[in-house]
Amino acid sequence: MNLTLKIWRQANADAKGEMVTYSIADVSPDMSFLEMMDMHNEQLIGNGEDPVAFDHDCREGICGMCSMFINGEAHGPDRLVTTCQLHMRKFKDGDTITIEPFRANAFPVIKDLAVDRSAFDRIQQAGGFVSVNTSGNTQDANAIPIDKHDADKAFDAATCIGCGACVASCKNASAMLFVSAKVSQYALLPQGKVEATDRVMSMVNQMDEEGFGNCTNTGACEVECPKGISLENIARMNREFMSATLKG
């Protein structure tokens, strides 16, 4: 396949960025999107140009490091995949592909397509944990049976990879889906319930401090989430937050 790529280039956080147009030939449909980007970078290096910076690591859809806003969608046109799992067979010969970074005030650009998502880490540091020491001298793992349905729902929420697609897809750059997934995981498990009140208050406060926008229930986040995290989690977090506020 021969393709035209329009890629956001920005030298560093302070520089002014711009879209730059490139063409690339002989792309195999079996390539992953990132392998196509590798091929493009090899060409740039060969021509003495600066390769395009982008984040990536595991390349199997689980580390959450790859990002990219492709043709107006986080992780591109396919569903339930990250950019590293997107394959070029989803595109046609002659296509023009627009590639931008995940955009949000809380995700400043580092270079080109790489952004700083450390705001997510700080939200988790504010309360995304169970305050148990790591001595291993807790009670036996089977001491508290957990309803399978709750355990499964907690698992589904816990599969969030922290990539930030929800924020990038939201017109308000809201982080509600991300935060609610973590809040839900713990709220659904007896081990997490003990601190549920403090946790939801601290995490929501930190989320607001980082400058993420409000949720207006458009559901774009759920559609673009590579792990299919459900909007149900946002409803659950709202309930948790309300009840925490009432407890004062």
Binding site: D30, I45, D55, R59, I62, R117, S118, T134
Partner: protein, 667 residues
Amino acid sequence: MAKLDSKVPKGRLSEKWTNHKSNINLVSPANKRLIDVIVVGTGLAGASASATLAELGYNVKTFCFQDSPRRAHSIAAQGGINAAKNYQGDGDSTHRLFYDTIKGGDYRSRESNVYRLAEVSTNIIDQCVAQGVPFARDYGGLLDNRSFGGVLVSRTFYAKGQTGQQLLLGAYSAMNRQIGRGKIKMYNRHEMMDLVLVDGKARGIISRNLVSGAIERHSAHAVVIASGGYGNVFFLSTNAMGSNVSASWKIHKRGAHFANPCFTQIHPTCIPVSGEHQSKLTLMSESLRNDGRIWVPKNIEDVKAIRSGSLSPTAIAEEDRDYYLERRYPAFGNLVPRDVASRAAKERCDAGYGVNATGEAVYLDFADAITRYGKEQAHVKGLDENDAVLVKKLGQEVVRAKYGNLFQMYEKIVDQDPYETPMMIYPAVHYTMGGVWVDYNLMTSIPGCYAIGEANFSDHGANRLGASALMQGLADGYFVLPCTIGDYLADDIRTGHIATDTPEFDAAEKEVKDRVAAFINNKGNRSVDYYHRKLGKIMWDKCGMSRNEKGLKEAIEDIKALRTDFYKNVNVPGSAEEFNEQLAKAGRVADFLELGELFAKDALERTESCGGHFREESQTPEGEALRDDKNHTFVSAWEYQGEPEKAKLHKEILNYEEIEVKTRSYK
């Protein structure tokens, strides 16, 4: 140079760890506040160690090259984590887990370390559940288990096919709690560039900020390396793109012995290579072998027809299929250990029976499992067990619940539906059992420098059993290192803060800056990836699933020549004072180019076959691996002497007190 002393405590095997913990030195809570520890890497080992050290009261500085500690590649582990809980009542015990691990490792691991691993395994599950790790449960609300390769019990705990992710997020959350308390200072997007020694002790590191390019000095009373394995020396592996050997290799060059570099695990169930553009390989969890049956066609005509696209695998009759693992190893069948399964796939493909265009793929077929589960469900629900359409639908639902995310991943990559047609798989480099040599306390041969998790060599011998990597990472990080490190640090309570404005730090920083500048100023004509791919090809062809003297000797010469070419002609664009991925990669590939040679040298030295190391010169008439216990029951620990070829071999002789060393048989 430090002598090779494993410091294994005296006494009975089952009492060593308990006695050791009772007898080693402790640091008081008030004094822990005066001591700094650096941890490099935030996978299961690094994250759990950071969290526990901080919780104990030490001041911890943790480094990762990713944008967040949660991205470390432990996150990609799929299948599960072993623990001798015996919840299934199927005869499991600490001793059985210990024995299986030693046997699976082909009797090349240290008995005392493995026993300790089995001993603390049960605490890991308790700990993780308390942290809110959502393990799979049955309808009674209790934890579920499954079975993995090389064992006869169900002791593997799991969270669908995302066990590594859930365990890592648990350790990450424990870290976050300590970061929030100010006890861990986290350095994201930082790479360790070198180790700093003061009076022969590890006292700090030089790091590079990957965003700004700034070279920084960090001091501590001890340095813990938890940077994972070196599978990416093969270029194509199931490791993450950034996974590298550099932290381990830098400490090796500063005096830490490197053990058993040739012990590499080639995992049998990975998605086959699709073409030259391939940048990495994707693993399909070994848990799939619980339900999938591995086969190739019996008749070469069928193979040809499949490759040409004129025959579908589902159209091949049962009697025309060769379920070669069930045929060769009736006792363990499809659940033989990884090394055995990988070699058997290679044997069939080398004989011409590979089922894709490259000739390097075998089938992993779920049709039988779907029918079996479907009938069971039909029976439970009181429906017609002979209704094939219904049975298939019900069976697919069960398989989807068990392996849904893996099947989806396969379909996205290969563009084929594994519920309808068998998966294609082929072995790929996955894990490295070799690593930095450590003693019983997990200290390397440099005082004050420790190595944990996949970065060390100690627990898996020549082959690792499935679901044991997660176990080892968390055992080392949560329970072993935080305890043993106190024994060393007890002497440091009066040392005070380690200054960084000293000649030792000056010299180390200068070396790092010179290395970085050399890459930037080289202005060669070949990209870093060009060299990495070349190295990978040499490694795979000559140091891969089977090795021989001639190939290994060639590999050593080829790698040397490639390294010379690399330093002469590599092209690193951009500058050192910016976000420069090519520059970071150049440093990593430079280290792989040295490690690769030591790897081949180690493989050449070990003339026996054992575990993942198969020497063609050492096999039985049936083609099974042939160990040479008389001459090779030892750990090779290599001391750096200026160049890989000059590395000096030290042997740690392995003594087995509790178990009898036997020929491994899975027949």
